[in-house]
């Protein structure tokens, strides 16, 4: 198995054993709830009562928190500084020198941070418990075109190779005396000698790969066999429909309670 650009963690858990489409539906419903449900603290509650128990079930709480923290913190700081303090016309809560914390800005910052926390942790949980190739295979079995599955799986496998190549080009240009630190102008002029070689070198093997997959009957219309087998428990299908019912419920609560 080649190295994959994915944070997937293999665990012998019941969450991991779910069918990929069930995981996808679960992620979608949680995302809809995070974006639709009204209330100041709703998203923090969702995080505590849905994401954390699911992560515990999947034995990925540690990796989840380690991945969520560095993404959410800069957003949280920005949103508190910008909305909390610079909110134009609000009720002042307290002042520190020229800075005044406004009530409306603080409320906006609390709900904003909650939404970011839910969106980010939801995606990360999905990535931790789902293997990209089994996900795409399960979608192909449900009628998604094989070309689309090829695009997704191939990009996921290409990214680590490309990032290594980008780092190598950066090193090579450094060795030739290219400056990538210092003034903005100097860093700007470093873009072309980095970007153009990376793209040209990666386009070289496009043609070769196109011939290779055509020679392996990629465009053949008939059914194909796969190396991976996906299992699905009998209760998962009705469970997915029940999960999907939460989306109109979220929308209804939003319209009803504002």
């Amino acid at each position: 198995m080649s190295e994959q650009f994915s944070i997937f963690q293999s665990r012998p858990s019941r969450l991991h054993a779910l069918h990929p489409v069930t995981k996808l539906v679960l992620t979608f419903c949680l995302l809809a709830a995070a974006l639709l449900l009204p209330g100041l603290w709703t998203n923090y509650l969702l995080f505590a009562l849905a994401i954390l128990p699911l992560a515990t079930l999947g034995q990925v709480t540690g990796p989840l928190l380690r991945a969520v923290w560095p993404t959410v913190l800069p957003f949280a700081i920005s949103v508190f500084l910008i909305q909390g303090i610079i909110y134009p016309h609000g009720t002042p809560l307290f002042s520190l020198g020229p800075l005044t914390l406004k009530r409306e800005g603080l409320l906006l910052a609390i709900s904003g941070t909650g939404r970011i926390l839910m969106v980010v942790s939801n995606f990360i949980l999905f990535a931790l418990i789902t293997r990209p190739d089994t996900l795409m295979l399960s979608l192909v079995q449900r009628g998604v075109p094989g070309g689309l599955a090829y695009i997704v799986v191939a990009s996921i496998q290409l990214v680590p190779r490309f990032r290594a190549r980008a780092a190598a080009i950066l090193d090579a240009q450094h060795a030739r005396g290219l400056e990538t630190t210092g003034s903005l102008r100097r860093r700007l002029s470093a873009i072309v000698p980095l970007v153009v070689p990376l793209i040209l070198s990666s386009l070289v093997d496009v043609e070769e790969r196109a011939l290779a997959i055509e020679a392996r009957a990629f465009n053949h219309p008939g059914p194909k066999t796969s190396l991976i087998e996906i299992t699905e428990a009998g209760w998962e299908r009705p469970a997915r429909w029940l999960l999907l019912l939460t989306v109109p419920v979220s929308l209804g609560l939003r319209l009803w309670l504002g």
């Binding site: 944070i7 991945a67 993404t71 610079i86 016309h89 070309g147 090829y150 990629f218």
Partner: protein, 195 residues
């Protein structure tokens, strides 16, 4: 339908994952260099110009979804629609012949940048409370302190940074296409339009 099949020939299908990887690899490198823009849509624009608007839109959409769903940068996933619009506009602009010289590419990039700022402002304002978590937040703070509300402040921030970003991207794509051998370009549906 037939033209769509022509747009998604095998060479296009193989180019798209390469373009997605280019988006992510360069976007990440630029982030390391701490430049005030993203350059995360060069691959998307390249596919749009060489293969067509639908292929460009698909590249943009999948780039951001893969970026988010693999857990590397979940904050990018909600902007998938913006990336799709950029890819589609790149394809349409190439069909109209607006990417055929460096200055045309520059102007097209500026225009696409304004449109992408307009599409991304509501997403940024609603999902992320108007902040990006990057250095550009200083701009949002400035507009907010002038009394702008969340949505106009994020649009103003985007309208200042996106056109420059997209103009650089379009000129780079023009440079790359000029450097590609004619024989290679001819394998793509729109490859021979740009000369």
């Amino acid at each position: 339908m037939n033209s769509l099949r022509k747009e998604f020939n095998t060479t296009t299908l193989v180019l798209i994952p390469v373009a997605i990887a280019i988006n992510i690899a360069i976007g990440h490198t630029i982030y390391i260099l701490k430049l005030p823009f993203y350059l995360d849509s060069i691959g998307t624009i390249l596919v749009g110009v060489l293969a067509g608007p639908w292929a460009g839109a698909l590249t943009g959409l999948l780039s951001n979804l893969i970026w988010g769903f693999t857990g590397l940068n979940p904050a990018y996933a909600p902007f998938a629609a913006v990336a799709a619009v950029i890819g589609m506009l790149a394809g349409l602009a190439a069909q109209a012949g607006w990417v055929s010289s460096w200055w045309k590419a520059l102007i097209t990039g500026l225009v696409v940048g304004v449109i992408s700022a307009a599409v991304s402002a509501p997403i940024s304002a609603y999902v992320f409370g108007g902040v990006t978590g990057s250095g550009n937040d200083a701009l949002v703070a400035m507009f907010r302190s002038f009394g702008a509300s969340v949505l106009p402040a994020s649009f103003a921030q985007g309208a200042l940074t996106d056109p420059v970003d997209k103009a650089i991207s379009f000129v780079l794509v023009w440079l790359i296409i000029m450097a590609l051998p004619m024989r290679f370009r001819a394998r793509f549906p729109q490859g021979q339009m740009q000369t």
